[in-house]
């Protein structure tokens, strides 16, 4: 049986007096691509921040590779892309990667590989601030790939990207998973659901489904995840409970 890379139990997070995550639990298996789908504002980013260990938790636990999320030993093993393009606008793509490679203590050769993986070779000496939105988010993704992470946490990495590139990136995520890493990708675009091995559907801080895309469609008797999402939201609480 596959080992779990991530185990979340009864996680509650409050931000500004509001309960953003309302006691959720799930696991992510090593070597799989787990999708996190839900409308914007449903708590996706907060959940991702919790996994990386930069979010204050109200209660519950988040374990990554058997250790508390955010603990020192994990910082070398996690690649994280925040929703904002978290690279330096006034540096070139290569300069950005060089800096983060030094911080991670990884070999310079990884820089070229990471740039190639996100298809930015032709722009590697361009200053990030001059690039398009999609190119900037790819530069940000390249940073997360640098350290050969065992867990890749990606907050909406494919927003606004060309379909061809989006397909290539999903292929890359699966290649990374095949090498044994766990990949956790969020999106608010429901049509990306079928690219994941397994899905978490989230709404208003609660997980309303946790299963493979096929089984979610089967159980809700729908043809696509968008309809399944609607069926789950409009259906009875029983159905959602059964799914989770």
């Amino acid at each position: 049986m596959m080992k779990n890379a991530v185990e979340v139990r009864d996680l509650v997070v409050r931000r500004g007096g509001r309960e953003v995550l309302k006691g959720i639990g799930f696991t992510i298996a090593e070597g799989s691509v787990m999708g996190l789908l839900g409308p914007s504002g449903c708590g996706k980013s907060t959940l991702m921040r919790s996994l990386v260990g930069v979010q204050q938790l109200a209660s519950g636990s988040v374990e990554v590779f058997g250790e508390e999320a955010g603990s020192k030993a994990l910082r070398h093993r996690i690649g994280y892309v925040t929703q904002e393009v978290s690279v330096y606008d006034d540096l070139s793509v290569t300069e950005n990667l060089k800096f983060f490679a030094q911080v991670l203590g990884v070999d310079g050769a990884r820089i070229e590989e990471a740039i190639a993986a996100v298809d930015l070779v032709s722009h590697k000496d361009a200053v990030v601030g001059h690039l398009s939105g999609g190119q900037r988010s790819r530069a940000s993704l390249a940073v997360a790939l640098l350290g050969d992470p065992d867990l890749l946490v990606l907050d909406e990495p494919t927003v606004g990207l060309d379909p061809v590139l989006r397909r290539d990136l999903w292929k890359l995520f699966h290649e990374i998973a095949e090498r044994g890493a766990a990949v956790f990708v969020s999106s608010h675009v429901m049509d990306e659901a079928d690219r994941c091995d397994r899905l978490l559907l989230m709404r208003e801080g609660v997980i309303i489904a946790d299963d493979t895309p096929e089984r979610i469609r089967e159980k809700t008797r729908t043809d696509d995840i968008e309809s399944a999402f609607l069926a789950l939201v409009e259906g009875t609480g029983d159905q959602a409970g059964e799914m989770a």
């Binding site: 930069v54 204050q56 955010g70 910082r75 996690i78 978290s86 330096y88 006034d90 911080v103």
Partner: protein
């Protein structure tokens, strides 16, 4: 703490400054222009005496004020762009981050003050009894202090507007009480006591001592106090920098 990471942060910050030509030019040229303005103001009155009295103080003020502003705004930018969050999820010590910034701005201050000191002493005839190079050392200590305080207060600012407002709150009182306008021992007792715990007072004392005497013992003592304040601010900065945020 890890020297490799500290060095990476410092070189990265310097590369960013070098990229931004306008900022780089302003950092280096502005202090020279201002010191020239001061010299010009008193050119026809007092025969250089006033310039000799105020000049050194100004040399202490520039690096402190400018680095305070620059650092608090850049760190805030680092917070809002998500790069700080990303770095804190990486194997980066909080002190690596803070020291990296302090070193980078210390280097900028060294160049900045070297130019200002050269101009003041070489061209504008600022009368300095002590060693001229020591003026630059004091200026660097001031700059590191400014950076350290900027890093510390940026933790309390959530917008760039707020960050800029910290300058009148934290810097201007220090400028008023540092002994440049009224000698500190002539201030009302309460204000004199207050000025005793403000770091800029020691920076100004160091500069003024340098112009008056050739003995350097007092100067080093003042530089030590400034450095201690800077270290304390860095430690406080590290304490207020949280990996986990609400």
């Amino acid at each position: 703490m890890n020297p490799r990471i500290t060095f990476a942060v410092a070189t990265r910050v310097l590369t960013q400054i070098r990229r931004d030509h306008r900022t780089a030019a302003m950092l280096l040229v502005l202090p020279c222009l201002l010191i020239t303005l001061l010299w010009w103001m008193f050119k026809d009155t007092g025969g250089g005496v006033v310039f000799d009295r105020l000049g050194p103080g100004l040399l202490a003020l520039f690096p402190f004020t400018i680095m305070f502003l620059v650092t608090s705004v850049t760190t805030l930018r680092e917070r809002s762009s998500g790069t700080l969050e990303r770095l804190l999820a990486m194997p980066m010590g909080k002190l690596d981050f803070l020291l990296g910034y302090a070193i980078a701005f210390g280097v900028v201050a060294a160049v900045q003050s070297a130019l200002a000191v050269l101009l003041a002493v070489g061209v504008l005839d600022l009368d300095v009894q002590g060693p001229v190079w020591l003026l630059t050392v004091v200026a660097i200590a001031d700059a590191v202090l400014g950076s350290a305080l900027g890093l510390f207060v940026s933790a309390f600012a959530t917008t760039e507007f707020q960050a800029v407002q910290f300058m009148p709150a934290f810097v201007i009182p220090q400028i008023l009480l540092c002994g440049l306008f009224v000698a500190r021992d002539q201030l009302p007792t309460v204000l004199e006591k207050v000025s005793d715990v403000l770091p800029l007072s020691y920076a100004t004392d160091a500069m003024q001592t340098l112009t008056r005497t050739t003995s350097t013992g007092d100067v080093w003592q003042n530089v030590g106090v400034v450095a201690a304040f800077a270290l304390a601010a860095l430690a406080l900065g590290a304490a207020t920098l949280r990996r986990r945020t609400p």
